[in-house]
Symmetry: C2
Subunit: 503 residues, 2 copies
């Protein structure tokens, strides 16, 4: 019996990477995904499963015997797809988009297929060199000053996410400063952002060992459109210096997560310079659109910052993860992050003629991420990329126009890019309810949003800005067209009608 | 003229994610990669390009107009492939493998295709739940104690790389300790490894703000097979305590990078317990093979550690990046790494019934990495996975046997897994040269390795262990079969013959 078993196995030897099996199964998954995109509108955008749904459906242990791909794909359809929130749906308007694209997908396929571990130049020269070239291309498209490009003594690197980009720059700034003031003063270092800055900054500071008491979320106001005011920053810094602390790092944001507010870089960088702090510009979402000349002014002042990053996986068609970081002084990163164990020594590194990106990031191993950016840039071309981004902005403008025609709603903060923050305004609720207070309005809008999202027809998320609960309508999913936006507005109105009639 | 141009563009509107275009182009890239695997043996394993080769070939800026995929793939073949070091080649024996597989590739395709950003449960429940389930499956396959599984109060999470896994656990341990002893004592914390521990530990400690003077690389000896001796650790710790420092964290290794040495976990964990330090077990390379009962004993004692990790992208067919981390006390990670801004608030998180993996890692955004592990486990089944791993070990044994038959060579340290550390022994060089010193032997082996690698026929890398320069022959590339190993040995002998005749 056991002999027969062995015989059977010998005849049906499975190889982990047989080219013909790869080809056959690869085509099957391409078709599966193409079908998925064709049908993605049919699924509820926000997943409707309950916590623990999957454990009930899957076995308790991994199978001993192999299972055919057909069966696995059936299970993906049956068990996984219902548990997915469909970020690629044209009716997805939540958070910020994670804009996939054919070219980005193909680039990721090539990267996964070659599966090189490009920690240094030697380990796969093309991975390092293409990354440097593409980062220079992108830097030029964004009209970053030459100091951020390799030709100007700076350089760009692909991180996974903005969290990593900020952590790397905080650590570089920290070590530069500690070298000056002595490591015993680490608890005096202070990191600055605004109350609109992404939580990535606080987390990075925390990981880097910055005293949690020394994280400053400087308050913003509606009057400043929730941008960080240079004067507020200055007085916070001055108070810290007075208290014997040492200002270290500022993260300014172009397009905040809650409301896409913009921190004015010129005055902030001036303050930064005055106090000798590292200024990082986080344009995670809005950086992409600054390749359009009419949006470039939002980056004015970046020439005075120390580092700049944006997420190509957010609104630049480059599938998660792909964060583009440029620094003026790569040496500061390298000093803080380099290691050079014997087993990685090689002639090329010793020649100092090459970039070893392992010293520009947290991890040693790194994927060949530049392939997807290269494919996106070449497959679409700069003109089309601008066209795509402008079409998203125009769809958001259209949505804004629809809101303006319905007096019950209001746009809460000015729209800068492709995201609209809006709500049912307090007055309208007052007509149907006795409660007219801000809190009741917030509650009502929260209920409205939940009702919309539960329908599965569209998906938006919320923010609270200056105490006001807003629904965020973020356009940027790659399949979204203008008629989806019109339909989304109808969904919002229908749910508002129903809720207002009930109340 | 301009009118015609506009007309043309309107007719040929490019969409970033058209399902039919996706299907067509996806099939093209699958075929491109299948052809690549069929031909990968023809390329020199280690890239032979010179620094700067690519900048000479590519334009200085991104194109304005779109380019067809056919042309881009021609350029990949012409400009990128020569600059790749072929980690997927069957003749790749360098560093550790990055073992790709059809199933791993398909899983990555699905993950990229869905392109969800699974930072919390809500953002895509399936991403979180499948990860928890698969990590439990894997934990059971490794016979990890129940305390590391979700059912036992612990849990597993997928990180990108071991660097991240170690950084997260160092930060968790740091904050736990600082809560006890006060943040003003951060400069007293000490982190321990051996002189064989991966540089990831030193880098993680450095990023976490541990005083660089307080990183201990405890010396190992040949007598201990380069494993970390508990007594050496204890005396180092005692000296630190004497000096007023605070022991924090130990990283023990199962399968070191240089020589795949093994730190004996039981006695080390005992010391760890005695001094109240966090013990992390880094089995980046060798963890995989511990799913085979005959190798499981290398993990004995892991039940007394605080955390354990291995890289599924190294020797578990799961393409970069995919590091599996288990912790006994997820609360420690969450305390150190959680953020909960308003825009991420949701009912599921508030119910406390779900895992929000963003609080178990450095970054907020995260890919749906568990899909590739799920596909690997199901497509091959546990029995085949064991078979694959054993076949690699057997190939390494075969190589070892070939070395033993040629008296000029020696195996320098005992082989534990699928990596053989060997060299031309000093005596043989003595026959042809007047120099018999260790240094001359090292130089000779270094020259030999460079000559072998330059040939492009196979690729190995080196290490220096206890002052001895060794060539590392690491088996594990998914396409490698035994005849590749035999051929590799012939290449080594040929180059040795040539060099010995010359000298």
């Amino acid at each position: 019996m056991e002999g027969i078993q062995v015989q059977k196995h010998e005849n049906e030897t499975i190889k982990p990477l047989d080219p013909e099996e790869f080809r056959k199964q690869g085509h099957m998954v391409i078709d599966f995904l193409a079908d998925y995109y064709e049908n993605v509108e049919k699924y509820p955008v926000r997943s409707q499963v309950q916590p623990g749904y999957l454990r009930q459906r899957l076995p308790e242990s991994a199978p001993c015997e192999p299972e055919p791909l057909e069966e696995i794909l059936r299970d993906v359809q049956k068990d996984i797809v219902p548990g997915i929130t469909h970020w690629q749906s044209p009716n997805y308007f939540a958070y910020f988009p994670s804009s996939g694209s054919t070219a980005g997908f193909l680039g990721e396929m090539l990267s996964t297929g070659f599966n090189v571990v490009g920690f240094n130049w030697m380990s796969s020269p093309a991975a390092t060199e293409l990354e440097s070239i593409v980062m220079d291309w992108l830097g030029k498209m964004l009209k970053l000053p030459n100091e951020f490009l390799f030709s100007g003594g700076g350089g760009g690197v692909l991180q996974g996410t903005t969290c990593e980009a900020i952590l790397c720059t905080v650590v570089a700034a920290r070590d530069q400063m500690l070298k000056k003031i002595g490591r015993e003063n680490i608890n005096k270092l202070v990191v600055y952002g605004s109350d609109q800055t992404h939580s990535a900054l606080q987390k990075a500071a925390q990981i880097a060992g910055i005293n949690p008491n020394n994280f400053r979320a400087v308050s913003t106001t509606k009057a400043d459109a929730f941008g960080l005011a240079a004067e507020a920053l200055r007085s916070t810094i001055e108070a810290d210096i007075e208290a014997g602390l040492v200002p270290l790092f500022l993260c300014a944001t172009i397009g905040t997560t809650s409301s896409t507010a913009v921190d004015a870089l010129n005055p902030l960088c001036e303050v930064g310079k005055e106090f000798g702090i590292w200024v990082h510009v986080d344009a995670a979402y809005a950086g992409s659109v600054c390749i359009c000349p009419e949006f470039r002014h939002f980056l004015d002042g970046v020439e005075n910052a120390d580092s700049f990053s944006f997420n190509a996986h957010k609104w630049f068609f480059s599938t998660l993860d792909c964060c583009c970081l440029w620094v003026k002084n790569p040496g500061a990163l390298v000093k803080a992050l380099s290691t050079y164990p014997e087993y990685l020594r090689n002639k090329a590194s010793e020649s100092k003629q090459v970039v070893d990106y392992k010293d520009w990031q947290i991890t040693l191993s790194r994927r060949f991420r530049s392939l997807k950016l290269w494919l996106v840039l070449r497959s679409y071309g700069v003109d089309n990329l601008r066209k795509f981004l402008r079409s998203h902005v125009n769809m958001a403008k259209n949505f804004e126009g629809l809101i303006a025609m319905d007096k019950r709603f209001e746009v809460v903060v000015p729209r800068n890019f492709s995201t609209v923050c809006f709500r049912i305004s307090p007055i309208e609720i007052g007509k149907n309810q006795i409660i007219t207070m801000e809190e009741a309005t917030n509650n009502f809008n929260s209920k409205l949003l939940e009702s919309i999202n539960e329908s599965g027809k569209i998906y938006m998320t919320h923010a609270v800005i200056g105490g006001v609960y807003v629904m965020r309508f973020a356009v940027g999913a790659s399949l979204t067209e203008n008629w989806h936006v019109n339909l989304a507005w109808k969904v919002v109105q229908e749910h508002a009608n129903a809720l207002l009639n009930m109340s």
